[in-house]
Amino acid sequence: MFRRIWSLVVKEFIHLSNDWWLPAFMLIGGASELLLVGWGTSRPVQNLPLMVLDQNRSAASRQLIVSLENTGTFRTAQQVNDMASITAAMDRGQVTAAVVIPPDFSRQMDSASGQPGLFVILNGAESTPALAAQRALQGLASTIDERIVLRRLNLDSEQFSGFNPSLRVWFNENLSEALYTTPAELGLMLEFTVLLFAALAFSRERELGTLEQLLVMPFSSLEIMIGKAIPVVIVGFTDFLLMLAMIHFAFSVPVRGSLPLLLVLAFGYLLVELAKGMVISVISRTQHQAFLLVMLVGMTDFMFTGYAAPVEGMPPALQFFANFVPAHHWLEILRGILLKGTGLDVLWPHVLALMGLGLVIGIFSWRFVRRALD
């Protein structure tokens, strides 16, 4: 039996070496893409265009503008003279935020009970930068508040610690974007690599009419399936190792938990995705169909990895559905082991869910393949 499976694996590798572009893309493509994407997107939201309409033109207003620039979120403020410029720039999407400093700003600052006003306009046409700008502005406002309160109530800054709660971020002390974006990006690329490769396994043979030839040979359906699966697993797992090394060394994503446990679970997750890909593969008549199904399945799964939106904020029906998405559990495991350093004692529900899903999808997939091949 093993000899027969081996000969099938050899056949698959001959296919691959005939078109060496494919394994090259599958292996190096994922890792280099992750490097590019990670480099582009793994930084704090910064350098946002800011406009200031300073109607006060005092020392206090200039100091405020400097503080705005010092938040690190904005680039050097562009000063304008009227509201019309702000409106035009907003329409054109050229600014994320505009701050209007009213004429009496410094007077109100200096008076004992004055309320210095600030008018802020955010450009909601792009919510990610707008939300970052909002956070930066609110943070600055509470700092200014505290400074004024200290002065007005004659409090000792040594004694007064402020009325704002202090904040600590665990598992990601510097709130580095890379730590929560790159694992999800790795997840997406790994899933698509494995799904696509597996989905093409049978649809390709069927489209080219070589499946019949394979069937008349003395292989059982299980042997054919295993023979098809081994190259996918080898390529997928190598791809995972490359990408893991990439996010660890290039983006300083730590591995705080047990690396062997991560590798074992990654292997298990690959098998689940492989089984899904096999189902797609046998129900598709052409590679085109297989590709379109991979898009549908892969993009659906990606929504539950927490990249675009947190799962715990989704409508209840979708949160329930997330339990049946292997990628959801896999990302919890990946983040848990990499960032939190958790082990099986904490992750067992996700591991169990992944195993259960794997078993169901695996059996389903095997029966499907057998029926399609016999």
Partner: protein, 377 residues
């Protein structure tokens, strides 16, 4: 290059797609279906964030503070923890996304106006919920301090607002509640309309893989005509989705569409030309469909998803990356879709992006024709 020849190739391609009903349905509706799924998943309203509290003070004031924080729907009290170990374990397991630690001098410090000795801990692995809890707690803390110190302040002759003297008013234009889906869904149109480009790459490689390209070349059809004939059906597929998607976004998801639909349709056609030409380049380069697919994922799909400014702002990308972003049709088109959907701007604002799309389209088509001639010349 004759129109009749191009039409013949187009008809052949349409026959290919129509021959199999499931392929037809998938080709036609995958973009809209994926967008629909994503739109649902993006309907995120962060509410009921589970919070653990470790109260070292155990005073009347600290209990009132916790009750005030957990009163609404924003933050829920998950558990009172006994010690830091319990907090650690709750955060590790992901049972809470944020924890509040109240120091032992809470009531005393508050009364003597020394400050508010509390600390919030959030889970930094998925910080959205944690950040939300922080904002909520900070707001509650403001109110709490104002109420608690009202008497003292009055006797000192200061009004209650004096603790937050700065009167900052924030107004958000175009998307008043700052809901991410209002701009991410229009942006994602550029990603899903890229799917037909992958189909184009596939069908071109399909001819090579099956050895039918030689037959086509033996006919009197010119090479450019062949390429154009191949992409026309997919421009049709794209345009169908250009009608379906805004209809769904407006009717089903109540996303406002403030611009001109005719303009949206016209600019979408230019975008489709540009992105499908990218698919042509890939399809001409690769000999098998599998390789064409793998390459299209690397140069069309993943960059179209991550590098076009849909999720991560272009302004914050490294300088070198921005150059790559600008060479992707999706970047310009995402600016166009957001501009037409939200501020409802017109051609006076959008023309540079439209010009860029046209330039990219012509450049990619020329590149495809060049490779095509070279490979088969």
């Amino acid at each position: 290059m004759s129109v009749r020849h191009i039409w013949a190739v187009t008809r052949k391609e349409i026959n290919h797609i129509f021959r199999d009903r499931s392929t037809l349905i998938l080709v036609l509706f995958t973009p809209t279906l994926v967008l629909l799924l994503m739109a649902y998943a993006l309907t995120v309203e962060i509410k009921h964030v589970p919070l653990a509290v470790l109260d070292y003070d155990q005073s009347q004031a600290s209990r009132t503070f916790v009750r005030q924080i957990t009163a609404g729907q924003d933050v829920d009290l998950y558990a009172y923890a006994r010690d830091m170990d319990e907090i650690t374990s709750l955060l590790m397991r992901g049972q809470v996304k944020a924890a509040l630690v109240i120091s032992s001098g809470f009531a005393a410090d508050l009364q003597s106006m020394k400050g508010l000795p509390v600390q919030i801990i959030i889970d930094g692995t998925e910080p959205e919920s944690g950040n939300f809890a922080v904002q909520h707690i900070a707001q509650s803390a403001e109110q709490f301090v104002n109420t608690a110190l009202a008497g003292q302040l009055r006797s000192a002759g200061i009004s209650a607002q004096s603790l937050q003297p700065l009167d900052m008013r924030i107004q958000t234009w175009f998307n008043p509640d700052l809901k991410p889906r209002n701009d991410i869904i229009p942006g994602l149109i550029s990603m899903v309309l890229g799917f037909p480009a992958l189909s184009v790459a596939l069908t071109l490689a399909h001819e090579r893989e099956h050895g039918t390209l030689e037959q086509l070349l033996a006919t009197p059809i010119s090479r450019t005509g062949l390429l154009l004939g191949k992409i026309i059906p997919y421009i049709g597929v794209g345009l169908l989705n250009v009608i379906l998607i805004p209809a769904l976004a407006i009717a089903w998801f109540h996303i406002s569409f403030n611009g001109s639909f005719a303009l949206f349709f016209g600019l979408s056609a230019i975008f489709l030309f540009a992105v499908l030409s990218m698919g042509m380049v890939v399809g001409v380069l690769m000999r098998t469909q599998a390789a064409a697919l793998a390459l299209s994922f690397l140069v069309i799909f993943f960059p179209g998803f991550f590098m076009t400014g849909i999720f991560f702002p272009l302004a914050s990308m490294p300088e070198e990356m921005r150059l790559e972003s600008l060479s992707l049709p999706g970047t310009h088109y995402a600016i166009i879709t957001r501009g037409i959907f939200l501020p409802g701007v017109g051609m006076d604002v959008l023309w540079p992006y439209a010009v860029m799309l046209a330039v990219l389209g012509v450049a990619f088509t020329a590149l495809a024709a060049l490779f095509f001639r070279k490979k088969l010349g």
